[in-house]
Amino acid sequence: MAEYPTPTTEQEFAANFAQIKPLMSNTEALYESSRCLFCFDAPCIKACPSGIDIPQFIRQINSGNTTGAAKTIYEANYFGNACGKVCPTEVLCEGACVYNLNEQKPIEIGRLQSHATRKVIDSGKQLFAPGAANGRKVAVIGAGPAGISAACELRALGYEVDVFEARAQPSGLTLYGVAPYKITNAETLAEMDYLQMQFGYRVHYNQRIGSREELAALEEAYDAIFLGIGLGATNALLLPGEERQNCVGAVEFIEQLRIGHEQVQVGRKVVVLGGGNTAMDAASESARMGAQDVVLAYRRGKDEMGAYEFEYDLAKAVGVKGLFNVAPVEIVGNGKVEGVRFIRTATVDGQVQVVPGSEFVEPCDMVIKATGQAKQTHFLHLIPGLQLDGKGRIVADARTGQTTNPKYFASGDALNGGAEVVNAAAEAKQTARGIHAFLSGN
């Protein structure tokens, strides 16, 4: 393999993680926007979880009103720039574009969206402003897509907003989780600055809300509390040897990668456990960090992987190899990881069963567990009356986002169990209005 040399400088890192949806020039945007048909009741709009009026903003780009285009986008989705780059557009808007049915390339909606929003971000033009102060205050826990979107909408509705964020920077997994070839740190943070500049909410960084006392203080000081806390750490495998050095969780690995870039070390041979999108990302990222071999190991067959097909294609394209129908039984090694003992599996009646006597060891010097993120149940249990469903997701009213503790509202991964940035942004906007309806009594 070794398609990518191990990056040793920021430039080399950027080259290995070249953007798969690079910025469009004005000319490219003009040409691409010219192709849009301006469909009636356009299917792309319906396929966008945030319901952006796509033909409208594309038409605005085409007529030279990029600022108006950005406004159309932001009115529906405060993460408009990030979404254009990180959304799985193949299965959302672009997947629904009518051109697919004519076997023509769909409109590059995501890139057009980022083009328009990026222009307005760079220009610093003021599109929005806080609403007239209504004297009420809302605390937002988590500065991810959900928390920041809620903060923007609440400010627009006239609320005073304080955001409490455990980490040092805003945007949640957009900065700490999404693959670096989808969006750069600078791009992510530029949008965050732009939003804060317009809406003027306060963000308190490095302030994890972690105790009943802290929550009680918020309940006392604020009229409502928005939970945008996302998910937690990678689930433990509960396998022998899991504690060995170089056996890491995918989200933890990716977080380090997003912050440390070329300073992060990967093994020569990496085994990634899992079949979801995070597994695909971790495998691609390992390859781009210079790992010689990357093996993606999954309990079931290739077609049963949860990952989107295009995500698997991205991993394959950088040389990742699939190892299917295997279950890990032990992380072997001596202090450090030296391999993974697998047992072969077969799927019988939809159930994964192990094939006795088929054990083997796949040698490697790094294991990345992409086995899903845990829920923050411990923290959530500190909130009186807050109900979680069987999967640890917050239970809330679908239209207002209000939880079973009426003072608390929720959106994003913590509510939906883990989806995309666009879902968190769309839900939070709606929930902000739910809060408004609750507090203004209509």
């Binding site: 003009l30 040409y31 926007s33 010219s34 048909l37 301006f38 469909c39 009636f40 009741d41 299917p43 709009i45 319906k46 966008c48 979880p49 945030s50 319901g51 952006i52 009026d53 796509i54 409208q56 085409n62 406004k71 159309t72 932001y74 009115e75 529906a76 989705n77 009518v98 051109y99 049915l101 004519n102 929005f128 402003a129 806080p130 609403g131 923007c152 909408e153 627009a156 509705l157 006239g158 239209r399 769309a426 906007k429 709606q430 902000a432 209005r433 408004h436």
Partner: protein, 468 residues
């Protein structure tokens, strides 16, 4: 192999494609290069008393990502001394004896006309074109379209020219006139051998929204210019047809206006042109376009079995009739090919909002359906459909009946009062006006409102409504 050569009012040319009098024919260098590339003839950039031009001379009309679908200029006639041009004409003719070199002329007095006609004849020109068309700059000096718009003056000048002309004389007409046949007839009356049309159309191609001035901008200001390029072809075709059908014109026509490929040329020829001239396309793409033009025309002629250009000059003219002669019994309706439809619903919204509410949406599919009873056969849906051959217009009458407006008028069977029972749209279904209110509002609302639920509660309460 079909024969593309022509003999246009005595001017011989290896093919019907000539460069129009304009910047591409500004010099012997350009004309030689064009002939080398395959052009059959060139009408030299208009000669006269050399002019002084402004800097910043052209403006363009772009449509979406297409550049220069329309083009305008505020340039005048040649700014080079006559002697230089004459010398170069001679040189070109020596090197290309079988190609057509036509000198375009524009001067004022009878004496000037006599002198310049003799000069270009002596230089070896194959023909002369009188530029009575330039719609800016020259007309204010009593030349160009100022002449083309006055049939009497035009005729007088043609007569002056014919007093000394020994080579064919073409009169180039301006389209800036309500009836093009009037100057065409005057040209004939004056003794001209042929006409060419159209010259450029008076225009303003755009206004700069920041500088508040029309394009092209000269030091913050602009002037009306002359419009040409693909956008003017329909106007040119109609004028060519008018001249070709007029029994009092009967002159060979050189078709000009919006020609950029073989297809445009074939259309001009089918409506009566027997040579065609090109300006904008050569300015946009260079002389190389001639290869596609000749190859295309040859292919077309081969497929149609035409041996010479004259086999199809004016071939469409019998089918261009007055409206009152068209068959009112002919009936087409739209038909959607469901297998091809991609569900853009442009046909639906076009017919719903812009035509006759003859297309409906269907449950469970994005493919709309035609309501045949309501379809008047206007073609709109088939014109907006982005998929080839997806909406076709199907003939519904049995072809046995024929009745024209003229015949109905003669038979006293036409609506004559305001509420006449014979109104064409009387028995046509039209929805109640109030049925429009709120219809599909949720589908044309901004996306965010749609995504967030029913239209009622999405309308006024969104944050962006509050802030914007």
């Amino acid at each position: 192999m079909p024969d593309l050569s022509i003999n246009f009012a005595g001017i011989k040319s290896p093919n019907p494609f000539w460069l129009a009098s304009a910047p591409p024919t500004n010099s012997g260098y350009q004309v030689m290069k064009a002939f080398d590339a395959g052009w059959g003839g060139a009408v030299w950039k208009t000669l006269g008393v050399p002019v002084v031009n402004v800097s910043s001379r052209y403006g363009g009309v772009n449509y979406r990502d297409k550049r220069l679908i329309g083009f305008n200029n505020i340039e005048l006639i040649s700014d080079r001394p006559l002697a230089d041009n004459l010398r170069e004409i001679e040189e070109v003719k020596k090197r290309f004896p079988n190609h057509a070199v036509i000198a375009s002329l524009m001067v004022q007095s009878r004496q000037e006309w006599h002198d310049i006609v003799r000069d270009v004849q002596n230089a070896g020109s194959d023909g002369i074109e009188l530029n009575f068309g330039c719609p800016h700059g020259m007309c204010e000096r009593g030349m160009g379209s100022a002449v083309g718009q006055e049939p009497e003056v035009l005729r007088t000048i043609v007569e002056w020219v014919m007093e000394v002309a020994r080579i064919p004389v073409i009169v180039k007409l301006t389209p800036n006139i309500s009836d093009i046949t009037e100057p065409a007839r005057a040209a004939r009356a004056g003794g001209a051998d042929a006409i060419s049309l159209i010259n450029t159309i008076q225009s303003i191609v755009g206004v700069d929204l920041d500088r508040f001035a029309p394009y092209p901008i000269v030091d913050g200001q602009g002037s009306n210019g002359g419009y040409c390029g693909p956008a003017v072809k329909p106007i040119a075709l109609n004028m060519v047809k008018n001249c070709a059908q007029d029994p009092d014109v009967r002159l060979p026509i050189s078709g000009i206006g919006g020609i950029e490929n073989w297809r445009d040329a074939a259309e001009h020829i089918l409506l009566g042109a027997s040579s065609v001239q090109v300006c904008t396309a050569a300015m946009h793409f260079g002389f190389g376009i001639i290869r596609e033009m000749t190859a295309g025309l040859e292919q077309y002629m081969t497929e149609k079995g035409f041996n010479t250009i004259y086999d199809f000059v004016g071939k469409a003219l019998p089918n261009v009739r007055h409206w009152e002669d068209l068959n009112l019994k002919y009936k087409v309706t739209a038909s959607i090919n469901e297998d091809k439809c991609i569900g853009c619903q442009l046909c639906y919204t076009a017919c719903e909002d812009g035509a006759h509410q003859a297309i409906r949406l269907q449950e469970g599919t994005r493919t709309p359906a035609i309501i045949e009873e309501n379809c008047v056969g206007c073609n709109l849906c088939s014109l907006v459909c982005p998929v080839e051959e997806c909406i076709t217009m199907e003939r519904r009458d049995d072809g046995t009946q024929h009745l024209t407006w003229k015949e109905r008028t003669e038979a006293n069977d036409i609506p004559v009062t305001f509420n006449d029972e014979r109104a064409g749209g009387l028995h046509h279904w039209v929805p109640e006006p109030s049925a429009a209110l709120g219809k599909e509002r949720h589908k044309t609302l901004p996306g965010k409102a749609r995504a967030l639920g029913s239209p009622e509660d999405a309308v006024a309460k969104t944050a962006s409504d509050v802030v914007s």
